[in-house]
Subunit: 195 residues, 4 copies
Amino acid sequence: MSTHRLEALTDGIFAIAMTLLVLNLDVPDVPLETAASAVPAFLLSNWPQFTNYAVAFFVLAGFWTVHHKQFHSIRHVTGPLLWLNILALLFVALVPFTTSLSGDYHPILLSAVIFDVNFLIIGIIYLVQWLYVSGNPERFLHASVDGHRIVQAKRRLLVLPLAATAALAISVIIAPGLNGFGYLIIPILLAALRR
Amino acid sequence: MSTHRLEALTDGIFAIAMTLLVLNLDVPDVPLETAASAVPAFLLSNWPQFTNYAVAFFVLAGFWTVHHKQFHSIRHVTGPLLWLNILALLFVALVPFTTSLSGDYHPILLSAVIFDVNFLIIGIIYLVQWLYVSGNPERFLHASVDGHRIVQAKRRLLVLPLAATAALAISVIIAPGLNGFGYLIIPILLAALRR
Amino acid sequence: MSTHRLEALTDGIFAIAMTLLVLNLDVPDVPLETAASAVPAFLLSNWPQFTNYAVAFFVLAGFWTVHHKQFHSIRHVTGPLLWLNILALLFVALVPFTTSLSGDYHPILLSAVIFDVNFLIIGIIYLVQWLYVSGNPERFLHASVDGHRIVQAKRRLLVLPLAATAALAISVIIAPGLNGFGYLIIPILLAALRR
Amino acid sequence: MSTHRLEALTDGIFAIAMTLLVLNLDVPDVPLETAASAVPAFLLSNWPQFTNYAVAFFVLAGFWTVHHKQFHSIRHVTGPLLWLNILALLFVALVPFTTSLSGDYHPILLSAVIFDVNFLIIGIIYLVQWLYVSGNPERFLHASVDGHRIVQAKRRLLVLPLAATAALAISVIIAPGLNGFGYLIIPILLAALRR
């Protein structure tokens, strides 16, 4: 199987999941007479929905770049690799739901845990996928992908699961509503790895 | 007509139908004060929605790989072939509706039957499509597609209709809410055919 | 401007509009105890939503093939041609709304008229587009497109506006809810033109 | 990183955001008996939703052509350029929300300001993106892109931020519900620049 159409399906599902996040943002439903004061109050009180939207959008974009980079190296798709991809996409398509749950019930531990575990699972699948294809480079990878790039990619693939774990830790130790800050370690870790 | 843009439309409709399934997952609507106990109870009681989401996502992904494989062999699209494809896409785009109906009314036989018949129809269309193009291989298929591959593909195309039939049988004989288990025969049958 | 990315945007908007039609199909909201009889009754009474879904899906697919065929001949996109395309896409993206309106209020003349006029406008835009590019073939068309094919395409482009007009006539003269039958003349006219 | 898949993600998110705008158009919910008079009244009173739909659709299409034109010149994507793109897409995906807010609360200044600022931010990001890549043309641009084209593109990139600013000015000085007229300066400015 060629990689081209799997990339097309993946790009489609990522693009749709990232755009459907917007449906979680509630438009206020207040009478026009009181709207001048009620609309700003409504939007302000819904700040967790907006931060969740931004976090989920950027983390999904991060996973998309991970997929992009892996498939830049992968030249051949087998059945198991295809279904590993589709399993990841099942959890990608689930993100609008877990983001909505987490935005609506931000003070509740369970909703933050579901949000973070969703990303943790995607991260682990993409890590497993890379271990799988890089364990058999002759079969799966382009000849130009050397051992250094394989190790470097492995390290980078730990970043998103680590961030989801940090978010989980914040949820449990500090407060569920602050878990989004856990994902701020992503650019820091990536910058550290770049050196 | 070239196959390229038909594949693009197909990839788009599959990606969107697979991602719209998430809109069927209800976010609970309970007051924040009782949410710590009400949200887990709500999610647990909605387990049929989650299993339906997973079943529908994987079965759609299965049909997508079927389409992918057929169009790997097909080199030319005619009017009848185009409209057979579009008829299949009509039922693909219907899956979020039949999944929602089946998740909301899982103990009702009719909703399980509609869910399974929807997949049965897609499976039959893709089988008919293959019989149609493989009956005229000089016109429709790449020269590299030999008789062995045509027969092998025919056998594989029976798997999804058989699974939908098994799901229908479970609905009628055992219980409508358990029909999802019928689709578990897909990997077993595919593995058996691979030998 | 190359035609490639305009085709990608067009394929995306058609695929999404065709799949969003499914959101118009209402899932019944009845208690589980009465669902065994209430669900079938609900679905039966909603038949105009289902016929509307099928009509809108096939007519949109028809417009998509019209676009596909035109851009098979077009080699160059200018500003006016781009914005003519985007105007058509505005009305394509509107179809889920006009289909929903027409399904919910099928006995009301206005809702049938809005549904049919929406398709009439798309049909006229694609006709104007072809008159525009075929009026300056050296600039817009591939060298292989001859006068015969230009005339043939013009005739075929009258089919969808004629069908929308027939649907309008049925709405006004017979009954708004039966306007969908107007689109049945499409395959008849296309078959007649093929001879 | 190649430009191909970033363009695919971008085309996907634009196509979806442009099509999701239709979900903001409310289908009336009135009894069938009174629908013949209530439906037209409802649609007429919702005119700001329809003008907003058209404005947002065309402005998004305008940004899409901006992206298309920039990536016609860009041959290489780096990390910062990728994330600038994704930041723009975050605000593109937000447009269905800000359009819905602005359609529902058109007389309220805040909702018009949010609508216009959303477009202003996208316009500024695409301007910054061009300043960034054109500041290092050897690295980012195709050799065929000369200084004249860089300056011309810079001028064109001011048009959308200027239109959003005009819309903001109309909101504040005249009336929030009339801000859509601000975007009418886009074709005028583009025509003036073409000379």
